[in-house]
Amino acid sequence: MSALLEVSGVSVSFDGFKAINNLSFQIGNQELRAVIGPNGAGKTTFMDIITGKTKPDEGRVVWGDKSQSLLAMSESKIAQAGVGRKFQRPTVFEDQSVSENLMLALKKSRNPFSVLRFKASAEDAVRVEELASEIGLSGALTRKAGELSHGQKQWLEIGMLLAQDPKLLLVDEPAAGMTPSEREHTTDLLVEAAKTRAVVVVEHDMEFVRRLDCKVTVLHEGSVLAEGSIDHVTSDDKVIEVYLGR
């Protein structure tokens, strides 16, 4: 399996504090991966580096068949290349309706002049409806995103990610603030999404990760502590010590 994304030897420090320390990570084209680790392990920072928000002090981040370096690219270029991201705190456009949010995310030209001429076609409208029903917001299309509950905003953001149709989906704690049945639905969506693309899920909840039933990477103090199946990592002594044994 050829790698879609390859991160190698990446380090970042904030005012001397090493948030990411010589981290290496690989993910294939259609792979689901869970990333776990205690608070402050560097999970969010790891996503910041891939999406271009934070530039690492050293290391390489290589993307796609053509082995492009993501480090030289702007956030918007990286997103256009096919990296979608869901933030830890739900971030949707609160002053805009659910359908406007989804329409913004829909995979279309991002060029200002084509956006200026853009008219949603019937297919676009149907696609937005489909996405809305997938995320349980069919009845809320015209409601402003700011009025939604925390869980619904999480959903909307997941819907926006799916609308973007990225090659790599980075999801930071998608299930926070969701009820158990909503969590189950989220797992299904993510597993489904990973059939056609790469998905990286950061999550604290071990049950959730177990249900994803995929390879797990454990981060600790900015580097990979262990990697393998959930049973493999949960029986690893180092992992038990820093994470599970608390």
């Binding site: 918007s76 979608g84 913004l104 956006v115 676009d124």
Partner: protein
């Protein structure tokens, strides 16, 4: 898929989506016809020519306020330099007006000579006339195109547009946002005005350009008629400007810039080149401002560097805030209301208030009143005058326990938003 929700997603005709568009254009047309009928030049003469000019100028201020609302209210860029573009538009058209009229005067005065005047004599004559006040008698290079109306009209659009493009590119590329961007735009307008104050700037220093109310070759047409022409032109420009702004904000482009206003980092992660969008809006609004200025100053008759002082752009932001940011008609109402009120107060028409121990003279106290109203609007009625329309349509603000609608400095505040 139900008809209803599909309709909600697909783009409907502008007027259906924006019912205020028709109302606005209707009011503007009605206003223009009414003023024409009441004017001295074309109607029964109830309104004085100078008041027609005031109204025409007000329409131009509404147009520049519209630009300000687009850049600040919709895109979240608090530019405090847009009156610089307005002034540049005024200077660009003023140069042609002054040149062409002086040319006619010089040719006329040289007509009695035995020999027909040479082109050089005419040119020198014009230069002496125009630049005598700053002790020069030659055309500065900046006047190279002033003989051509077409070229100066192009300059009305191109100079503000290019300046905004270069300035915006530098600022947005370095991700200057919020207060820093506002300060930078203030610095830009201050630098421009200080430069123009110099006698060797080529634009007559603090004298500015004058006599702009006289249209070259139309000396026989009385001002009462010219003033109504300009009112029509200003109304047309405002109407078209409004239409263009509605077209921009109503579609997906509008959705993108409002998203940038509230949370630009998030927009980047969706793959939109945020800087390009900001640059587009900044440049487009600079051009709108330039056009507004080009229509304003022939009605004012004079332009000088004080018009570009930083305070002018701050006033512009105040008008938009008082009118209601983020709704186009709000900006228009704010500009019209405040500038007309200002004319009334500073024109000495407002009766002084005698408090016994102190007399409030509005000529001096108007700015204080304006400042207080600005503070009051910001604190107690963030939706501004435009918010009154929400009372009619029974729109409410969301209850967000004080949270803004996005993390950015320009994001809508809770009380500015609608559910």
């Amino acid at each position: 898929m139900s008809e209803l929700s599909a309709g909600a997603i697909r783009r409907k005709p502008l007027v259906v989506q924006y019912p205020s568009l028709l109302i606005f254009l209707g009011c503007l047309a009605l206003f223009t016809v009414a003023v024409t009928v009441l004017s001295e030049g074309f109607g029964i003469g109830v309104i004085s020519t100078s008041f027609v000019k005031t109204l025409g100028k007000t329409l131009c201020l509404c147009l520049v306020a519209l630009a300000m609302d687009l850049v600040w209210g919709y895109c979240g860029i608090l530019s405090l330099g847009h009156m610089a573009f307005f002034g540049i538009g005024g200077y660009a058209i003023g140069m042609w007006l002054m040149y062409a009229r002086t040319e006619l005067i010089v040719i006329e005065s040289l007509a009695n000579q035995a020999l027909p005047p040479t082109a050089q004599e005419i040119s020198d004559g014009i230069a002496t006339q125009i630049f005598g006040v700053v002790g020069a008698s030659e055309f500065p290079p900046i006047w190279a195109f002033s003989h051509s109306l077409t070229l100066q009209l192009l300059a009305v659009i191109l100079v503000p547009g290019l300046l905004a493009l270069v300035f915006g590119w530098l600022a947005f590329r370095s991700r200057v946002t919020g207060v820093y961007l506002s300060i930078l735009t203030q610095a830009m307008t201050l630098a421009l005005s200080l430069y123009l104050f110099q006698n060797d700037s080529g634009l007559r220093g603090n004298n500015g350009l004058s006599g702009l109310q006289n249209l070259p070759g139309l000396g026989d047409v009385p001002q009462s008629v010219v003033s109504v022409w300009f009112l029509w032109a200003s109304a047309l420009a405002l109407g078209l400007g409004y239409l263009a702004c509605v077209a921009i904000v109503s579609g997906k482009f509008g959705s993108v810039i409002r998203a940038i206003r509230d949370d630009e980092a998030r927009v980047r992660f969706l793959g939109y080149p945020v800087e390009a969008y900001k640059l587009f809006i900044f440049t487009f609004t600079a051009i709108l401002a330039g056009i507004a200025g080009a229509l304003y100053y022939p009605q004012a008759g004079i332009i000088n560097p004080a018009e570009i002082a930083p305070i002018a752009s701050i006033y512009l932001a105040v008008w938009v805030a008082i009118g209601g940011r983020g709704r186009l008609y709000g900006a228009v109402i704010g500009a019209a209301f405040v500038s007309l009120l200002s004319t009334w107060f500073t024109g000495g028409q407002a009766p002084d208030v005698n408090l016994g121990f102190y007399t409030i003279e509005w000529v001096n106290w108007w700015t204080v009143l304006l400042g207080l109203s600005f503070v009051a609007v910001t604190l107690f009625a963030p939706k501004g005058i435009g918010g009154l329309f929400d009372l009619i349509t029974a729109k409410r603000s969301p209850d967000r326990h004080g949270a803004d609608l996005g993390p950015d400095a320009g994001a809508l505040r809770e009380k500015e938003a609608e559910t």
